[in-house]
């Protein structure tokens, strides 16, 4: 009977209503600053979709968002508030860069090695959070936050010290990698098809694992009630570490791809904030990997489209961020409201002895 209120029109309503509200909210903000909302929204849409070049940019931004979203859907399923993806992306990029700078191999094996190294970098950082959580009882939010700061400091130090270009260190990063360490792009666009394929594989894998495997079911049980899951005989500590490893691996892969496919070098802002935006993606996707690709596409499009606001309307591009943030807030608000309306139906049965 928990499905009673979830017939199709109702479900569509709860998806559409928060989006419309978020648009209205952003429009109201625009009106306050004296800009025409419709034009602004049109600029964003147009900026994201006007040319194949832009579509390629959207897909390029989609890759890290989908990867982080898929990874975090795994840790969230296990009830872990893993916010360390930002640091895991950075470590992935750093590890990938080390290979690209130090190993000489033909293109294919080199790229393979770079990708593996990136995954390992993310795994290492994720595992550190996991160790702190499991063995030192540091809450994963604080462990993740701390490690994000350390990762940021580490990348800056690397770019400005051991890895600084011969002409001097700048915010524009290291020397470009040798061409053999570049993941090929599609034609004249910035889009690396291989990266898209890898991200898609990760999303599908996360979905299959959570919904089809015993391990995934056990993670979900942990997310519902860690203590009861333990008493059911699930090795909760080991599974927590595994969840961090999986999420770290996917975020690390995102970092490696950013370095080797998008920028062809290590830059201080290599993560592009995708570790944080990815959190919004997974929140909006309701922690479900199957919804991650679509939500990631939406966020990627806003990200690519909003710089247009600066160009054509002299508005700050961060308006795109406002739109993203308000969508997430209104969706969460809608979910809360919906739960409130369903509350009696849901909880009452359990209270009846």
């Amino acid at each position: 009977m928990q499905h009673k209120l979830s017939d199709l029109p109702t479900r569509i309503f709860w998806v559409v209503a928060p989006l419309v509200t978020a648009l209205l909210f952003t429009s109201a903000l625009l009106l306050i600053v004296g800009a025409p909302p419709l034009q602004a929204i049109w600029e964003i849409i147009n900026g994201a979709l006007e040319s194949p070049q832009k579509w390629a940019d959207v897909m390029t931004a989609w890759v890290p968002l989908a990867l982080v979203g898929a990874g975090m859907s795994v840790t969230f399923a296990a009830g872990l508030w893993n916010i360390g993806a930002e640091g895991q992306i950075i470590l992935g990029a750093i590890f990938a860069t080390w290979i690209a700078r130090n190993i000489e191999l033909p293109q294919l094996p080199l790229l393979f090695l770079i990708v593996i190294a990136g995954i390992l970098g993310g795994v290492l950082w994720g595992l550190l959070t996991g160790f702190l959580k499991v063995y030192a009882r540091v809450h994963e939010i604080f462990a993740g936050l701390g490690l994000n700061f350390i990762a940021t400091a580490l990348i800056i130090w690397l770019i400005f010290n051991p890895w600084k270009p011969a002409r001097g260190a700048t915010m524009s990063g290291t020397e470009p990698f040798p061409v053999t360490a570049w993941i090929p792009r599609l034609g004249s666009t910035r889009l690396p098809p291989l990266a898209v394929i890898l991200a898609a594989i990760c999303v599908v894998a996360a979905y299959l694992m959570l919904n089809g495997s015993r391990f995934g079911l056990e993670l979900r049980a942990m997310g519902k009630n860690m203590r009861a899951a333990f008493l059911q005989g699930i090795p909760t500590q080991r599974h927590m570490l595994l969840a961090f490893i999986i999420c770290g691996g996917m975020a690390g892969l995102a970092g490696a791809l950013q370095a080797t496919a998008v920028y062809h070098r290590l830059i201080p802002r290599i993560s592009g904030g995708f570790g944080y935006t990815g959190m919004l993606v997974v929140l909006l996707a309701g922690y479900k990997p199957e919804f991650v690709p679509l939500v990631a596409l939406f966020f990627a499009a806003i990200g690519v489209g909003s710089p247009r606001l600066e160009l054509n309307m002299q508005l700050d591009a961060s308006l795109g961020g406002v739109l993203e943030g308000s969508v997430v807030l209104f969706v969460l608000l809608g979910a809360g409201l919906r739960q409130r309306l369903n509350h009696n139906t849901r909880t009452a049965l359990e209270t009846e002895e």
Binding site: A228, L231, I234, A348, E350, E353
Partner: protein
């Protein structure tokens, strides 16, 4: 204060929890509300105490319709409820809990609160120390605390939902004395929700019986027990009798077990059990029996001593290894420890069965349906376990156990269950016993211990009294031992 519930309706989805229930509560009376699990007693009382909303019907207070949307509003009107599981704040002290809700200023007056709490404690002979954190109190003490709190808030109607589960015999005596005092000396209206007939018989002035959300009858006490049973179940049900079997070899051996807890140390506890043997663990809540059994389950670390299963030492192994070798525990807290809230019945089976890494959900669905039919669980495979009643939760927990367990440990196997489910649980346990499983269980119900145990172990303040054969023991003697005395 005169209260009338008129034609109350409450639906949970398609289930009618309350269907046109009417009930009158008069001051100076103890009103028993009876019914088996899922009969709608708790729902009705939660509606009266503002904890849940009603779908239809009216609540008249001294003849005036009244609507309250929260427990706080109900308390302001004068209606307070003691929930089945204490809704308090374990890390806070008794005094802090006591003062919750009635001193709304920024800096509550601790002195006045303490004064009032001690006065109430003296008036009713309660034994709660204001400065003890609630987590160290027994269930009975937490109850006393909550009664004091509601009285301090000035309630005129006090509702108690299954208040005797988990409290000791002396605490029960005190509780009944308190309730009688409240009704007859202070002219309050007391509602006693229970399915324990003896208690209702000894305490209540009038009773209302609910069944499947409807009132089956309202009568003034005394009413013959057979009549109550007929009203509750439609027919009378007998508990299954213990079958006599030949006990097998020694399965479990515990030697010199020493367990340290915050309150006491259990020292050098020894136990040997045979295949098919049932051992009941009696004692006041928190006397050490739970710690002892949890250490046998591999959940509690021990200071010294060993646990042998089939002659093999399990010392130093993990809970999962204990489990893998055939020891299983069914916790008293079925929904917070036993089952995983938020997962469906079907999703529980792959956690416990031999399942390949990739789950065959179709096969699992079929298997779950078979188990549901076999164990007579009221639910569908996709029903979330949290929406099951206590009896059905226990059925799911038993369905999850491997068939060939060596040792099955149960904490309060029938606590909070209706007679039908309790009967069913013991039928299952007796079947397992016949197949050679050793059964260790705790219970606050001495009749249950006497009926089903081969031998009884009593714990008192962390001291284990070695097992006594049930043939050499009477309920009375057992009662004395639980209280730490020997009957002359």
């Amino acid at each position: 204060m005169h209260i009338e519930l008129q034609n109350i309706h409450k639906y949970f989805g398609v289930i009618k929890a309350n269907y046109g229930v009417s009930l009158t509560l008069r001051p100076g009376h103890i009103h028993g509300l009876l019914g088996e699990n899922g009969a709608g007693k708790t729902t009705l009382m939660k509606i009266l105490s503002g904890y849940q909303s009603k779908d239809r019907g009216e609540i008249l207070i001294d003849g005036h319709p009244n609507e309250f949307k929260s427990p706080a509003e109900a308390i302001r009107v004068g209606i307070g409820m003691l929930h089945q599981d204490p809704l308090d704040f374990p890390p806070m002290t008794a005094l802090e809990n006591f003062m919750l809700g009635f001193d709304q200023r920024l800096m509550p007056d601790q002195q006045a609160g303490r004064q009032q709490m001690l006065e109430l404690a003296e008036r009713f002979n309660f034994s709660v120390d204001p400065d003890t954190p609630v987590e160290y109190l027994t269930v009975g003490e937490r109850q006393q605390l909550e009664i004091s709190r509601l009285l301090a808030l000035g309630v005129e109607v006090i509702i108690l939902d299954e208040p005797t589960t988990g409290i000791s015999a002396p605490q029960k005596v005190l509780l009944f004395k308190t309730l009688k005092h409240l009704a007859y000396e202070e002219n309050k209206s007391v509602v006693f929700v229970s399915h324990k007939l003896e208690e209702v018989e000894s305490l209540c002035d009038e009773i209302t019986v609910l069944r499947r959300g409807e009132v089956q009858g309202h009568q003034d006490m005394p009413v013959p027990i057979e009549e109550l049973v007929r009203l509750m179940f439609g027919q009378s049900v007998a508990m299954p009798a213990k079958t006599t079997i030949e006990l097998g070899n020694i399965v479990l051996k515990v030697t010199d077990l020493t367990i340290q807890s915050e309150k006491f140390t259990i020292e050098n506890a020894n136990l040997e059990t045979r295949a098919g043997e049932v051992i009941g663990f009696a004692g006041m809540e928190g006397s050490g029996q739970a710690l002892f059994l949890r250490s046998i389950a591999g959940l509690q670390s021990v200071k010294q001593g060993e646990v042998f299963l089939g002659g093999k030492s399990l010392t130093g192994q993990s809970y999962r290894q204990f489990m893998a070798q055939g020891i299983s525990l069914l916790p008293a807290d079925r929904i917070d420890e036993g089952l995983v809230k938020g997962l469906s019945i079907a999703e529980h089976f792959p956690l416990r069965r031999e399942t390949p890494f990739v789950i065959d959900w179709d096969e699992n669905q079929t298997y779950t349906q078979e188990q549901i039919d076999f164990f007579n669980i009221k639910g569908r495979p996709e029903t979330l376990v949290d929406s099951l009643s206590g009896g059905n939760q226990q059925r799911v927990l038993l369905a999850l156990q491997q068939p060939a367990l060596k040792v099955l440990i149960l904490e309060h196997p029938t606590r909070g269950l209706d007679i039908e489910s309790a009967r069913w649980v013991w039928e299952q346990l007796l079947k397992r016993r016949e197949k050679g499983t050793t059964i260790l269980f705790t219970s606050a119900d001495l009749d249950e211990i006497m009926t089903y145990s081969d031998r009884v172990v009593v714990f008192f303040s962390g001291k284990m009294i070695p097992p006594i054969s049930v043939d050499e023991l009477s309920v009375e003697e057992l009662g004395y031992m639980i209280g730490g005395k020997q009957k002359e």
